[in-house]
C-alpha cells in the first residue's frame, strides 16, 4: 500500500505530465487497486510469468479495448442523448463529429477510431468550394491533434478517389501532425494509381498514411465493414474488440524441449490459458461492468454482439530462432528459408487454433488472430512476427520473407519497412514498393523514411524533436511522446537505424 501511495504521489507531482495526463495515470492506478477478476490457478501462473499477457488493460474491464462506432448513424439521426440535431451542412457534420468523439471510450481514454471520414463527409460537400473544403479540413485536423493528442486515434479514407480524401492527404502532408493516424484503404480495382501516388508522396513527406489492402480486409468482415484503428488493428464497424490478450512465443519456445514438444504440448497449453484469460475479462465487461447500458448501444452507434477478441502473438522471431537452436539448425528468422518456413507453420497453427476455440460474447463466436506490436517495456522480444530491429534486410527481401504470414492475421499485422531518404528524389519508388507489397499479400504497407522528424513507433507517430524536448524535462502535449520517450530509454529506439520500436501501448505510469 505504501508503494502505491508513493506512486500516486509521484504521478501527482511529476514535472513532465500535464494535469490531464496525471488524471489519466491516477485513474489507472485506482482501477488496479481493485481485485483482478478471478482466474484459475494455471492461468494466473502463466499471467504472472508473462507467458501470456493482458496488455495491462486494468483490473476492472469497464470498457472495451477498442470501440468503432458507426458514425454514419449519428450523422443521419443526430443524438437524443447528446441533444444533437441532424446535421445538414458540412460545418454541422464536422461539428457533430468533433463532439461525439469525446464520448467514445477506449483503453487509452481517447477514441481510437474517428471514422471513414470521406464516406462520412462527402454527402455534405455538394456546393462546398475546394478552397472552403481545404480550410474546414485543416481546422478540423488541427482541432483533432490539439484536443485528442493521441496517435492511436485513427482516421480512414478510401478506397475511392474523392475530393475529401485528397484534401485530407493534402492537409496531412502540410501539417505533419502526430494525430490523427491515417490509413488509406487501397483497392486496385477502385482507387486508381493517381490517389495512390499522392498517398505515396505523403509517405515520403511524413511517413503517413498506412496503405491497407482493402480487398483482403473486406473479405474477412461482413457487409457492415471494418475500420483500421489504433495501430493496424482491423475490427468490425459498430463494434470493436473487447480485449487483447497476447502470448509471448519466445517464452513458449523456451519452455519447449524441441519443435515437436512445442507444437504438440506447450503451445496448445498456453494458447488455451490465454483463451481463458480472455473469457474472464470479456465476462466481466459484459456481465458486471454495465458498459452496454449506454446511449452508444441504445442509439445504435455500436452493437453488443459485434465485439471480437483480438488474440495477439509476438516474439515470433525469437521463438523461431530458439527452436532452430534446439533442433541444431543455424538458419535465422528473416534470412533463412527453413527458419522462415517454421515461422509460417507456427502462424498457420495459431490461426487454426483461434478459429476453432469458441468464446462467449464474442463476435462470430471466436477470437481473431493478431500480430501484436509490443509494449513500451518489452525487452529482447520483437513485435509480432517482425524481423528483429536493426537487422532487417532491404524492403523487398523483407516483404518477401514475411508476406506468407499475412493471410493468417485478420485482425491486423504490420511490418514497418525502413527506406533511406534518397527516396525523396524518387517518389515513384515508394509507389512501386507499395504495389509490390500489396501484390504479395501484405495486408498493410507501412514505411518510415529514415530522416523524417515524424517517425513511426510501431503503429503510432512521434516527433523526434518532441522526444528530445521531453527528455529535457519540458513535458509533451501529446500522450504518445511519453510512450516514445520510455521506448527510447528502454529499447534504444533512437540508436536504431530504422527508428522503429516494439511498443503499441503504454501500460501505466513508470518513473
Amino acid at each position: 500500500m505504501k508503494d502505491t501511495v508513493n506512486k500516486l504521489r509521484a504521478i501527482a507531482n511529476d514535472a513532465t505530465l500535464s494535469p490531464a495526463q496525471k488524471a489519466h495515470y491516477l485513474s489507472l492506478e485506482a482501477e488496479n487497486m481493485l481485485a483482478y477478476p478471478v482466474l484459475d490457478a494455471e492461468t494466473q501462473e502463466a499471467l504472472d510469468q508473462r507467458v501470456i499477457c493482458d496488455m495491462y488493460e486494468g483490473h476492472a474491464p469497464y470498457k472495451p479495448r477498442y470501440v468503432l462506432p458507426d458514425y454514419s448513424i449519428v450523422l443521419k439521426n443526430g443524438s437524443e442523448y447528446l441533444e444533437l440535431p441532424v446535421p445538414e451542412t458540412l460545418d454541422e457534420a464536422i461539428n457533430t463529429l468533433m463532439i461525439v468523439y469525446h464520448h467514445v471510450p477506449s483503453v487509452t481514454g481517447m477514441p481510437v477510431f474517428i471514422g471513414h471520414l470521406d464516406d462520412l463527409l462527402l454527402p455534405f460537400c455538394d456546393g462546398v468550394s475546394d478552397e472552403d473544403l481545404y480550410t474546414k479540413i485543416k481546422l478540423f485536423w488541427r482541432y483533432l491533434d490539439r484536443t485528442l493528442p493521441d496517435a492511436f486515434m485513427h482516421a480512414n479514407i478510401g478506397p475511392t478517389d474523392n475530393r475529401v480524401a485528397r484534401t485530407i492527404l493534402r492537409v496531412d502532408a502540410e501539417l505533419k501532425q502526430i494525430a490523427p493516424n491515417l490509413t488509406f484503404l487501397y483497392d486496385a480495382q477502385i482507387s486508381g494509381d493517381e490517389i495512390l501516388a499522392i498517398a505515396s508522396n505523403n509517405i515520403v513527406e511524413c511517413s503517413k498514411p498506412h496503405i491497407a489492402n482493402h480487398p483482403v480486409h473486406a473479405a474477412a468482415f461482413d457487409e457492415r465493414g471494418y475500420g483500421i484503428v489504433s495501430c493496424y488493428n482491423v475490427l468490425p464497424i459498430a463494434g470493436g474488440a473487447s480485449t487483447l490478450p497476447r502470448v509471448n512465443l519466445k517464452e513458449i519456445a523456451l519452455r519447449s524441449s524441441d519443435e515437436k514438444n512445442f507444437f504438440a504440448d506447450v503451445l496448445p497449453r498456453y494458447l488455451e490459458l490465454a483463451f481463458r484469460l480472455a473469457q474472464v475479462r470479456v465476462d466481466y465487461l459484459f456481465d458486471e461492468s454495465n458498459f452496454f447500458h449506454s446511449f452508444l448501444v441504445e442509439e445504435g452507434w455500436i452493437e453488443r454482439d459485434r465485439f471480437t477478441v483480438m488474440f495477439g502473438v509476438f516474439a515470433m522471431a525469437e521463438a523461431v530462432n530458439e527452436l532452430q537452436d534446439k533442433e541444431g539448425r543455424e538458419g535465422r528468422y528473416g534470412f533463412d528459408e527453413e527458419a522462415n518456413a517454421l515461422g509460417h507453420r507456427i502462424s498457420k497453427v495459431l490461426a487454426e487454433v483461434v478459429e476453432k476455440r469458441t468464446l462467449n460474447n464474442v463476435w462470430r463466436g471466436h477470437a481473431m488472430l493478431h500480430s501484436q506490436a509490443g509494449l513500451s517495456d518489452d525487452v529482447e522480444t520483437t513485435p509480432g512476427v517482425r524481423i528483429p530491429y536493426g537487422t532487417e534486410p532491404d524492403p523487398v527481401t523483407h516483404v518477401q520473407a514475411l508476406a506468407p504470414h499475412h493471410e493468417y492475421y485478420p485482425s491486423g499485422i504490420s511490418e514497418i519497412l525502413t527506406v533511406d531518404e534518397s527516396i525523396k528524389n524518387n517518389p515513384e519508388a515508394m509507389l512501386q514498393l507499395c504495389k509490390g507489397a500489396l501484390d504479395c499479400g501484405f495486408r498493410e504497407f507501412t514505411v518510415n523514411v529514415a530522416s523524417n522528424d515524424l517517425v513511426r513507433v510501431t503503429g503510432y507517430m512521434i516527433r523526434l524533436s518532441d522526444i528530445k524536448k521531453f527528455n529535457e524535462q519540458q513535458g509533451s502535449r501529446t500522450n504518445t511522446t511519453v510512450l516514445g520517450a520510455e521506448a527510447a530509454d528502454v529499447t534504444g529506439i533512437l540508436d536504431r537505424k530504422p527508428r522503429v520500436v516494439g511498443n503499441e501501448l503504454y501500460p501505466g505510469y513508470s518513473q
Binding site: 523487398v396 533511406d420 534518397s422 527516396i423 528524389n425 524518387n426 519508388a429 512501386q432 509490390g436 501484390d439
Partner: protein
C-alpha cells in the same frame, strides 16, 4: 539467344538511386576507366572473385520473381556497355516478353562507347544515366585514364535520340568543383538543352581506394553552391543528393 552470358559483379533487387522507381540493378564486371574516386572499385578489373556468370535467361527468371516490386531494370557496373551484346539481348528479351515488357530498361554509363555501339543498343533502351567526370580533357584523363571526347559525344547522341535520362557530374573538391568546371558543365548543358536533368553527386569516402581517401569529401554546402550556379544559368532540373555519408 537467351544463353548469352555476362560477368556480373552483383545484383540488387531493391534500388531507389539507379533511375526512376524501384530498380533491379545488374552490376556488370569490368570498366574501361580506372577512376581513383570510384566507390565500387572491385568492379573495375576483369577479374573479381565475387563475380559470376549469368545468362539472359537466368536474369529473366529473377525479374519474374521480383516483378511486382520493380519499375525497371538498370545495368550498371563497372561499365555495362563493355558487355554490350549481353545488354542488347537482355533488353531485347524483356521488350518482347509479355510479362516483363512494362519494365523500363536503363543503362548507367561512363559514355565510353562509340556511335555504332549506341545505335545498336538504343532501340531497346528507355533511358541512359551518363556520367561526365570532367569538362577539361586533361583533368578527365587524370581522373579516369581516358579523355572526355567520347563521353561528351555520347551525351549528344543520347540527347538527340531522346534517351538521355540524366547527366551526372561528380563534384570532387579542388578537382571538379571549380568555377571553370561548372561553367564547362553549364555551357555543355546549354548545347543539350536547359531542361536536361542534371544530377550532382558528391564525392564521399565510402568504398573508395586508399589514394582517394586523401581527397577531401564534398560538403553539402559546396554542392548547394554548385547547384545554385547551375540554376542561375537557367538549368531547370538540378538534382542534389539527399544523403551525405
Amino acid at each position: 539467344m537467351n544463353s548469352t552470358q555476362a560477368t556480373v559483379s552483383s545484383i540488387l533487387t531493391y534500388s531507389i538511386v539507379d533511375g526512376p522507381g524501384n530498380r533491379f540493378v545488374i552490376f556488370l564486371q569490368g570498366c574501361n576507366f580506372d577512376c581513383a574516386c570510384c566507390h565500387n572499385p572491385d568492379t573495375i578489373g576483369e577479374y573479381n572473385p565475387m563475380a559470376r556468370q549469368y545468362s539472359v535467361a537466368e536474369i529473366l527468371e529473377l525479374l519474374r520473381e521480383h516483378l511486382p516490386f520493380l519499375s525497371g531494370v538498370t545495368v550498371s557496373g563497372g561499365e555495362p556497355t563493355k558487355q554490350l551484346k549481353f545488354v542488347i539481348e537482355l533488353f531485347g528479351a524483356i521488350k518482347v516478353d509479355k510479362e516483363l515488357a512494362d519494365l523500363s530498361c536503363f543503362i548507367d554509363s561512363n559514355g565510353y562507347l562509340g556511335e555504332s555501339g549506341w545505335e545498336s543498343v538504343l532501340p531497346v533502351t528507355d533511358g541512359v544515366m551518363l556520367d561526365i567526370k570532367s569538362f577539361d580533357d586533361s583533368a578527365h584523363r587524370e581522373l579516369t585514364t581516358k579523355g572526355n571526347l567520347k563521353s561528351l559525344q555520347s551525351a549528344r547522341i543520347l540527347q538527340a535520340a531522346g534517351k538521355l535520362y540524366e547527366l551526372r557530374f561528380l563534384l570532387v573538391p579542388d578537382k571538379t568543383d571549380s568555377d571553370a568546371e561548372l561553367d564547362g558543365l553549364i555551357e555543355f548543358v546549354g548545347t543539350l538543352g536547359l531542361d536536361t536533368r542534371i544530377k550532382l553527386n558528391a564525392f564521399q569516402h565510402h568504398g573508395v581506394r586508399a589514394e582517394a581517401l586523401e581527397w577531401e569529401k564534398m560538403s553539402e554546402e559546396g554542392v548547394d553552391r554548385a547547384a545554385e550556379r547551375l540554376r542561375a544559368a537557367g538549368i531547370e532540373n538540378v538534382i542534389t543528393p539527399v544523403l551525405y555519408l
